[in-house]
């Protein structure tokens, strides 16, 4: 049962990395899209693509926390005790990001949009960096247990954390660029698809370089993890690398169909390889999953929730994505009316004249 919950935890991390990560990455491209004129079109694609889904994607993070604190309470307590600073920054970043994104859609003047856009984009880089740094701190064994706090600075400002943070930002940007190619195609914007394809290729190269450099850092800084990566987790690492190369080749040659799937698998396998490499420890090499696990009653409840989620939430999640990809959830901003004095009475609204009978609104319900 402990193993099952550990797998669920890893799956939640994976889902957050793949779905939430892409949202953060979209923020990165928003940040780098340039001035209001030049960046308008890419930003429109970005907003269109993450608008309806970001809140649902974000719930994966809540799931991670909930699974941690119910099933592995000691690990959660130790992590929050030691990594107070980056977690707090991430929390504030999440507030800034979510609020700015929602506000940006609801305001109209360019100045306000830029303000909230900047808040959204900057926090989209900050949060994944912190998450990556936190993973780095955990994976290198910098989080002690037993109610002791680890070093509040070194636990997240260290070589592995730096690599982890930068890698998280880059991987998020990469994933997101790949998705955005298809989103732009869905909107029939060929030039935007090309725009994001070029960025996908560039970020793929950057990710590869960081990953390679990271290998050296890990060898020096994180014995247990590094050993795990070249032994237990080796097949997954190889899978990740192979898919990454495959995706890159396809992207370079015009982003054929398989590129998106390969990119997804590449990132997913990288996350899984981390999990496999540090097993059986939840906090290498201080606390194993088995030692941290909650009593069986709690684990049963968590697994029951997972089953319920598969029955209730998953169909909804799939529905949301299907509707979103089919363009049935168009961006709902708030229009401005050019002339404030036109307080149009309904009957000279040309639009409503186009309206015919009242039957048509009832018709589909029958």
């Amino acid at each position: 049962m402990i193993a099952a919950v550990a797998v669920v935890l890893l799956a939640a991390v994976l889902a957050y990395a793949l779905f939430g990560g892409a949202d953060f990455g979209a923020g990165f491209w928003d940040l780098t899209a340039g001035g209001p004129q030049r960046g308008a079109r890419p930003r429109a694609v970005i907003e269109h693509s993450i608008g309806p889904v970001w809140e649902a994607n974000h719930v994966w993070l809540i799931f991670i926390f909930v699974i941690l604190w119910t099933s592995f309470p000691q690990a959660y307590a130790s992590i929050t005790l030691t990594l107070f600073v980056p977690l707090m920054i991430a929390a504030l970043g999440i507030v800034l990001r979510g609020a700015s994104f929602a506000f940006r859609k609801a305001v109209v003047t360019t100045r306000n949009r830029r303000l909230f856009g900047a808040g959204f984009a900057a926090s989209s880089v900050l949060v994944p960096y912190c998450m990556g740094a936190i993973v780095g701190g955990i994976a290198t064994g910098r989080v002690p247990t037993g109610g002791r706090a680890g070093d509040p600075v070194d636990s997240w400002i260290n070589p592995t954390s730096t690599v982890g943070g930068v890698l998280a930002v880059a991987a998020a940007a990469y994933l997101s660029a790949v998705y955005l190619v298809w989103d732009a195609r869905g909107l029939d914007q060929t030039d935007m698809a090309e725009y994001f394809r070029r960025r996908a290729v560039a970020s793929a190269v950057v990710v590869a370089v960081i990953a390679a450099a990271g290998a050296f850092v890990l060898r020096a800084d994180a014995d247990y993890l590094f050993d795990g990566l070249i032994s237990r987790a080796l097949p997954v690492v190889i899978l990740s690398g192979a898919c990454g190369v495959g995706a890159l080749l396809l992207l370079v040659r015009g982003a054929a169909r398989g590129a998106r799937a390969l990119a997804l698998v590449a990132v997913a396998a990288a996350v899984v390889s981390w999990g496999v490499a540090q097993s059986p420890y939840i906090l290498p090499t201080n606390l194993t999953f088995a030692a941290a696990a909650a009593p069986p009653g709690t684990l049963t409840a968590v697994l029951a929730v997972v089953v319920l989620a598969a029955v209730i939430v998953l169909p909804g999640f799939v529905l949301l994505y299907v509707l979103d990809r089919r363009g049935l959830l168009p961006e709902e901003g708030v229009d401005d009316v050019a002339d404030p004095d036109v307080d149009r009475a309904p009957d000279n609204d040309p639009h409503l004249h186009a309206a015919t009978t009242r039957d048509s609104i009832e018709e589909p319900g029958r």
Binding site: W69, P295, L352
Partner: protein, 481 residues
């Protein structure tokens, strides 16, 4: 002189680094902020669906406009609610790591179910809000229903966790105090949960209704008395007016539960320093450091009578001094609890009278009260109901002090050892105030633009290309008036 400065500096530094008050303040501040958005998240979708139903069923154009605009405001409040809620889940660990380490396996369980509900809510909120233009009317309506159900389920689950802190059950500890067995159902369905959850869900409908109605009441006072504004007012205020009397009933039962199960909290609520019968209900007033009650208006015997009507004024109410001083809330906390109690019950009664006025007018005149005073009171009802909500939570949370898990773990044993909490507290306050103010400004800006736009703009028209009736039918017009 130098010495004075040095001592002063020392105390300042000590005050700055002792994490307990800062952690409490940060937890309280973020919760009190989040809870304002909660009623909107829980009940607004329901009111929107009422308008939506009317729109589709009776081809009511005003109702359609209302439903669509409400859903757009909801997108903003929902997002702010979601992100501030997320901060709370960080904070449980960041501020109370020892609490979570020891009790996470039990206390955490309700949150697993909460996650399920919030997930459902987030998914269907997105479909509903973004689906206006492309989905068919009835399927679109139905995508809103899970939002309502999940909102209720979510708040019940979260409150179950809070209720567990008041009535911990469903776990076994070994000699060292480690939790070795957990019965998840007993954790969720703890003794405090049914009434507390009911009180919160009704509160969400009550506060959501009054908040939204107050916006339309303000508009009507400013002369915007068109059908659109009236409809907005009627839907929201009716929901609140139905919820208010229910809330009084549930609150009454909850108070008796506290009397029976958390006597010290009850003593703080009723300002009872020593055990006695024939205890007066003291309105306002305060507990002094020497343990006597001063000021206020005592109503003889009422507190005893309310605690158990069957024994009337001879009901014995346990005093604060029945537990050691270390296990009592401090005098300051007692006064806060009592004042908050007066605020909740007092304002709750006012809101009840307002609802009664509205109800009586409907019964006898078949329309809402015409008086401007009614509208003025309704315009104030939103803020008053939020104060009620906050006050109720202060009673619950401060009244539990010094315990974090009632009778088992104290707050000071749960707090983080991190001395930098005061910094995160300041950061949180600054960010939240900015977000709060901006939320209000953004919502107002949206409302102004909606008003300017009059009808639907091209971009907006829901259920297009299906058409809308040009004018609401006259009979409907009458009905709403």
């Amino acid at each position: 002189m130098v010495e004075v400065i040095a001592t002063f500096g020392e105390t300042a530094v000590l005050a700055a680094v002792d994490p307990v008050p800062w952690a409490r303040a940060q937890m309280a501040f973020t919760l009190m902020f989040h809870i304002i958005l909660v009623p909107l998240g829980v009940s607004w979708a329901f009111m929107t669906l009422i308008a939506n139903y009317r729109a589709v069923k009776h081809s009511d154009r005003d109702a359609l406009m209302l439903a669509q605009r409400w859903s757009k405001y909801m997108a903003v409040t929902f997002a702010v609610g979601a992100v501030t809620g997320t901060v709370l889940s960080f904070e449980f660990g960041l501020l109370w790591p020892r609490f979570m380490g020891q009790w996470g396996a039990a206390f955490g369980v309700p949150f697993a179910f909460e996650g399920l509900f919030f997930f459902t809510e987030a998914i269907f909120v997105a479909i509903y809000i973004f689906g206006w233009r492309r989905l068919r009317p009835w399927p679109h309506f139905w995508t809103g229903v899970p939002v309502v159900l999940a909102g209720i389920g979510g708040s019940v689950s979260v409150v179950a966790a809070n209720a567990w802190m008041n009535a911990p059950s469903g776990f076994t500890q070994n000699a060292e105090g480690t939790v070795v067995a957990v019965d998840p159902l007993r954790v969720i369905f703890n003794d405090a949960m049914p009434l507390q959850a009911a009180h919160m869900v009704v509160a969400a409908y009550l506060v959501g209704g009054f908040l939204i109605a107050s916006v339309y009441a303000t508009g009507m006072l400013r002369g915007r008395t068109d059908r659109y504004h009236r409809l907005g007012f009627l839907i929201a205020f009716s929901v609140a007016a139905v919820a208010t009397p229910i809330q009084m009933g549930v609150g009454d039962s909850l108070a008796r539960w506290v009397y029976n199960n958390q006597p010290v909290k009850f003593a703080a609520i009723e300002l009872v320093p020593t055990t006695s019968s024939d205890v007066p209900e003291t309105l306002l007033g305060r507990l002094d450091d020497d343990g006597t009650v001063s000021g206020g208006v005592p109503i003889p015997g009422l507190a005893s009578w309310l605690s158990d009507p069957s024994t009337g004024r001879s009901t014995v109410v346990q005093g604060l001094d029945t537990v050691p001083a270390d296990d009592q809330p401090t005098v300051r906390q007692v006064n806060i609890v009592h004042l908050a109690w007066d605020a909740m019950v007092g304002l709750g009664t006012l809101l009840f009278l307002l609802s009664a006025w509205y109800g009586i007018s409907w019964v006898f005149r078949r329309r809402m009260p015409a008086s401007r005073w009614f509208l003025r009171a309704a315009a104030a009802s939103g803020v008053l109901s939020v104060i009620c909500l906050e006050a109720g939570w202060i009673v619950t949370e401060v009244g539990r002090q010094p315990w974090i898990v009632y009778g088992i773990m104290k707050v000071e044993d749960a707090v983080t050892g991190n001395t930098g909490v005061w910094i995160s507290f300041c950061a949180v306050v600054v960010l939240y105030l900015a977000v709060g103010i901006t939320t209000i400004l953004v919502l107002r800006g949206m409302s102004r633009r909606f008003r300017r736009a009059g009808g639907f703009t091209e971009h907006d028209a829901p259920y297009s290309p299906s058409a809308l009736p040009e004018e609401p039918s006259p009979t409907r017009e009458e009905a709403v008036r």
